[in-house]
């Protein structure tokens, strides 16, 4: 197919039109709106960098951003450790292997909104009940403080996403050649040395993929945030995605919300590019 062939453009047309209208055009107009006083319908004034300057001094946005970063770091670490652990267990020659995979993966299929509601019940009712029966004070009043809200979100996300990451690690673990393991056994490497020197380098790409996926998923999280804590108490567990939605559709500050969205976009894109670049480099070195 050549550029001037009609068929080339006909094949591309539906997708090209959809992406231009749904993604590219709103992104470009959004960038423009963020420099104006757009109210969702019309623009009466070009305000330059005013929205961005305001945003820089906005404590609520700053808090949301900081909370999102802290949450993402905690979530990435916990999810990947659990996910790799689960993958290492189910790739051994144990009888229940496929049953275990099924169970660990299950939460992934269910929407974040539903999972958040379920865990809201567990944290507020079941935790309190367990705490009462075994006498642990710390299990009372979960989700009513910033701290418990934070860890509540981390626990929920880890439970949901560890199985997903497990599937990725399994795919790479299974591609480690048996001969390499056997050779190292003959050379007298113990279990830990084998893991450190054979398995880890061989599954290096799995770390790239998993870290990238968990980072971007945690950073962009909205549904779980909405249904588990709804940002409370006092917006202290509100993440950036939720802050943008609220600024736009509850407070109706459209142009201002769009400037937040642009900062959000740049951050997400930068993290993704940086991480892909960094991990590609590392893989080559190995």
């Amino acid at each position: 197919m050549k550029n001037r062939d009609l068929s080339f453009w006909l094949f591309l047309a539906p997708v090209l039109v959809a992406i231009l209208i749904v993604v590219i055009y709103p992104l470009l107009t959004g960038l423009y709106y963020s420099f104006t006083n757009w109210d969702g319908l019309r623009i009466s004034k070009f305000v330059g960098l005013d929205n961005y300057i305001k945003l820089f001094h906005d404590k609520e946005f700053g808090d949301a951003f900081w909370f999102t970063i802290k949450f993402s770091i905690a979530a990435i670490i916990v999810i990947n450790i659990i996910g790799l652990g689960l993958a290492l267990i189910v790739t051994q020659h144990i009888k229940t292997s496929s049953f275990l995979r099924t169970v660990f993966f299950m939460p992934n299929l269910i929407g974040g909104l539903i999972l958040g509601f379920i865990w809201q019940f567990i944290f507020t009712k079941a935790f309190a009940s367990i705490g009462e029966s075994i006498g642990i004070e710390g299990l009372q009043g979960w989700l009513s403080t910033t701290e418990t809200g934070f860890w509540g979100l981390v626990i929920l996300t880890s439970w949901q996403m560890a199985g997903y990451v497990m599937i990725i690690y399994i795919a790479y673990l299974q591609s480690v050649p048996e001969e390499l393991i056997e050779a190292s056994q003959i050379d007298g490497a113990n279990r830990f040395q084998r893991f450190r020197n054979i398995t880890v380098p061989m599954i290096a790409p799995a770390f790239t993929v998993s870290l990238f996926l968990t980072l971007s998923n945690s950073f962009k999280m909205y549904d779980q945030n909405l249904s588990l804590t709804n940002g409370g108490p006092f917006n202290s567990t509100q993440m950036v995605a939720m802050d943008i939605v609220k600024t736009a559709f509850t407070e109706n500050s459209m142009a201002y919300a769009q400037s937040k969205a642009m900062i959000f976009f740049v951050t997400v894109a930068a993290i993704s590019l940086l991480q892909v670049y960094y991990n590609k480099k590392k893989e080559v070195e190995l």
């Binding site: 197919m1 992104l27 169970v103 660990f104 992934n108 539903i114 379920i118 009712k125 079941a126 997400v268």
Partner: protein, 272 residues
């Protein structure tokens, strides 16, 4: 002997972990069968008296059959459109080696970096001004948001399909569209399963986009209905949990039947 003991230990750890993983589902289902007072008295144990009343009430209040139909319609139509259109686009891009083709492919891949929130506000207001916030627009938007990853995946799969097949089809008198539809598309079937799985899971569970685009005219999907329902019964856990259980049931049934394809699809989608 030593090796077997180690495996047995791992087996036991695995099963214990699986129980921990299932506890949230256990708590949800068990408490959905209790009365309000029962939940308050004993959250962790089995119900003293199993009652179906919560399920009946939640089923009716959710308008579950209608919501299920809406979710099914939107998910199925969007996914089919995404599969066909993305495969076509990826085919065109992979069989055209020009610079322009590379640039367009790169634009599609780059679009994956754009988070939904970055375009959400202008998108919704632009469609709103044209009075086009409805179900058809929602499906069109799913094509726009879902196509990037799907094209990327199909593009990878197409590298493994030799171009000599295209030439052979051409000699046999196929036009471009026939070549695609009768020769290439069937060969892409494994990738179509992956693309289908990824998009079905995402669209079925999506809340934010439909909450902004549809609603108020009987086209609400399950997540939307559930959100309204939960808002109304926020302090009545027996009803809320029954509603959640009902909403999860179709997913669990689907998982039971298509488990292999789903896990394979997820692995392929993430790894490629």
């Amino acid at each position: 002997m030593f090796k077997n003991r180690r495996l047995l230990l791992l087996e036991i750890i695995g099963i214990l972990l699986a129980f921990v993983w299932l506890v949230p589902f256990y708590l949800m289902v068990v408490n959905a069968f209790k009365t309000k007072r029962d939940i308050f008295a004993d959250t962790l144990g089995l119900p003293e008296e199993w009652t179906w009343d919560n399920f009946v009430q939640a089923f009716v209040q959710l308008g579950f059959i209608k919501a299920f139909g809406n979710s099914l319609f939107i998910t199925a139509v969007s996914t089919i459109i995404i599969i066909i259109c993305s495969a076509m686009a990826a085919y065109a891009l992979s069989r055209n080696k020009s610079k322009l083709s590379t640039v367009i492919f790169f634009m599609f891949v780059a679009a994956m970096l754009i988070p939904f929130q970055a375009v959400m506000i202008p998108l919704v207001s632009q469609f709103g001004q044209l009075d086009m916030l409805n179900r058809s627009s929602l499906i069109f938007m799913y094509l726009g948001f879902g196509a990037s990853l799907s094209i990327f995946l199909y593009h990878g799969a197409l590298k493994g399909i030799p171009e000599s097949l295209d030439d052979a089809a051409k000699i046999d008198g196929c036009n471009k569209f026939q070549t695609f539809w009768y020769i290439i598309f069937p060969l892409l079937k494994p990738m179509s399963v992956t693309v289908g799985v990824l998009n079905v899971i995402w669209i079925w569970n999506d809340y934010l986009l439909p909450s902004l685009v549809i609603g108020g005219n009987g086209t609400e999907t399950i997540p939307l209905q559930l959100f309204f329902f939960f808002g109304q019964y926020t302090k009545q856990w027996h009803l809320a949990l029954a509603g959640l259980s009902i909403s999860i049931l179709p997913v669990i049934i689907g998982y039971f039947f298509a488990q292999k394809q789903i896990i394979k699809g997820i692995a392929d989608g993430a790894v490629k």
